[in-house]
């Protein structure tokens, strides 16, 4: 079953992500993806993540697809105007990519080319709408397409945002625009996620809770300081600090979070940030 079918079936769905290399040596990228192949439903390929220039998501998706791994094509609005974005949607379609995650993207000020001209021609809501329009046989300007693509459209949301209401308002707009599933920013506080889901479930679109493998107390503190909408509670940081095997502790935390939240949502999206080899261990520990 593909991602669309799995989510439709109501089965608890697992996705993960891999980041393409900065360069053309794809061995490590593919090795990591291979480790995920039989354990997850689909694998996101990030789009110049953290605004760092690297191999593109679309090429990465095609490589995964060739190996029998279902890819999720991530598209940010940072680097392409509406002409390039729509064209890439068509490109994805002819290359057999159906799943597209439409996101705003980190600002280039955070990446390795801060001198770049920010594009942000359209936003994630409009990108979703554009993809939906294309399925109906026309581009953003209503001009007829020669053959229309077919997508399974995803979007992202930050459950830990404070205040939460603007996030929920935008989430609702994304649903209206055509989002068929959500993969969330990392969550470490199940009680807050529950509050979020109380509201989010009203939209009737599956939500895959984001889990970032935290491998040290330092990383947790870094995220608390720098990553928006993410808060690692003090007791988790303490646990990591005391643990002899920090990675093992991180895996345990991730598994426990999944167990605690799996009844609240429709799936989990695991972002291992380089430690994709540990995803099977997380899933084992979570009983998935």
């Amino acid at each position: 079953m593909n991602l669309r079918e799995t989510l439709k079936s109501g089965k608890f769905t697992v996705t993960a992500e891999v980041g393409p290399p900065k360069g053309i040596d794809t061995r490590d990228f593919l090795e990591k993806a291979d480790l995920l192949k039989d354990r997850v439903c689909a694998v996101n390929v990030t789009d110049q993540q953290s605004a760092v220039m690297r191999l593109g998501s679309l090429a990465g998706c095609v490589l995964l697809r060739e190996r029998g791994i279902e890819p999720v094509f991530q598209m940010t609005c940072r680097d392409r105007n509406r002409i390039a974005l729509q064209s890439d949607l068509l490109n994805a379609s002819v290359l057999g990519i159906e799943n597209v995650l439409c996101i705003t993207g980190d600002h280039m000020a955070l990446g390795d080319h801060p001198q770049a001209k920010p594009v942000f021609d359209i936003d994630s809501v409009s990108l979703l709408q554009a993809a939906r329009e294309m399925e109906h046989g026309q581009d953003m300007n209503g001009i007829e397409l020669q053959g229309s693509p077919h997508f399974f459209l995803g979007a992202s949301v930050t459950p830990g945002a404070d205040p939460l209401e603007p996030q929920l308002i935008k989430m609702e707009k994304k649903v209206k625009a055509g989002a068929q599933f959500f993969q969330t920013q990392a969550v470490y506080e199940p009680d807050k996620f529950e509050e979020f889901m109380q509201e989010a479930k009203k939209f009737g679109v599956p939500v895959l809770v984001g889990i970032v493998l935290v491998k040290s107390a330092g990383m947790a503190r870094y995220m608390n300081k720098n990553v928006a909408g993410v808060h690692v509670p003090d007791d988790l940081i303490e646990g990591l600090e005391k643990a002899e095997n920090k990675l093992q502790k991180g895996i345990e935390i991730a598994a426990r979070l999944i167990k605690e939240m799996r009844d609240m949502c429709q799936g989990v999206h695991i972002m291992a940030i380089g430690l994709e080899s540990q995803v099977p261990a997380i899933l084992d520990a979570a009983g998935l």
């Binding site: 600002h107 949301v157 945002a161 308002i169 928006a228």
Partner: protein, 227 residues
């Protein structure tokens, strides 16, 4: 008010490579206020260049280099010194430099960088900025411009990049624009407009329309052509 800053001296000297004689032009408008192109800075520049072995054939400070007619009249009285120079070094904003370049058949060099204000602030000294986008969205953003206040020009709500109400880009000086908009809309009981699906902006309106592109000078020239 247009804000300018002096370029590093090495950059300016680089422009003058291969030239020995230069004429300096300053501006008594914004550049004087920014201390980049008033009389004081022009005289300082003259001394610096002379120390570096350049000959300054003359200098003048115009009240408002952005006033094209004023520029032409003023430069006329320095004709000899200007003709005697290899080039002109203009100590003002990008508009003034272009105005001089347009008024005289000599190479011009900019001595200043014009600082981006993240959209024009007009005469207003506060943080409200206008991008002059030609397609105002202030109605459904609580009177706060999302194009100048949001680093990503978002028009349908916030991204996930704000932390404690601050933008991921320069959090020390940038609040999350969409949080400001959200709070404003909530305060005036208009949060419903945030739910409006705002269509993509028409950026073709961000260029000046034809009738603005024709300037007073252009009109004068058209009249002259008729005579």
């Amino acid at each position: 008010m247009i804000v300018s800053e002096l370029k590093p001296m090495e950059e300016i000297v680089g422009y003058l490579e291969g030239e020995s004689k230069v004429f300096l032009v300053g501006c008594n408008g914004c550049a004087e206020a920014c201390q980049t192109g008033g009389s004081k800075q022009v005289i300082e520049m003259k001394q610096k260049l002379e120390e570096l072995g350049k000959k300054v054939t003359g200098y003048c400070v115009v009240d408002f280099l952005c006033n094209k007619i004023l520029v032409r009249v003023k430069l006329l009285s320095y004709q000899d010194a200007i003709l005697n120079a290899d080039s002109l070094l203009i100590m003002t904003c990008g508009i003034g430099t272009q105005a001089v370049a347009n008024a005289i058949h000599k190479p011009v060099h900019p001595a200043c960088n014009t600082i981006n204000l993240g959209g024009s602030r007009g005469e207003w000294p506060g943080s409200e900025r206008c991008l002059e986008c030609g397609d105002c969205v202030l109605d459904y953003t609580g009177g706060i411009c999302p194009l100048t206040v949001c680093a990503k020009y978002l028009i349908n709500g916030p991204c996930g990049g704000a932390k404690e109400g601050r933008c991921e880009v320069e959090p020390d000086v940038r609040p999350c624009g969409w949080q400001l908009i959200y709070e404003r809309l909530k305060a005036v009981d208009r949060l419903d407009v945030m739910r409006k699906m705002v269509p993509p902006k028409n950026y073709s309106k961000m260029s000046p329309p034809k009738y603005i592109r024709s300037t007073i000078m252009w009109d004068v020239e058209q009249e002259e052509a008729k005579v």
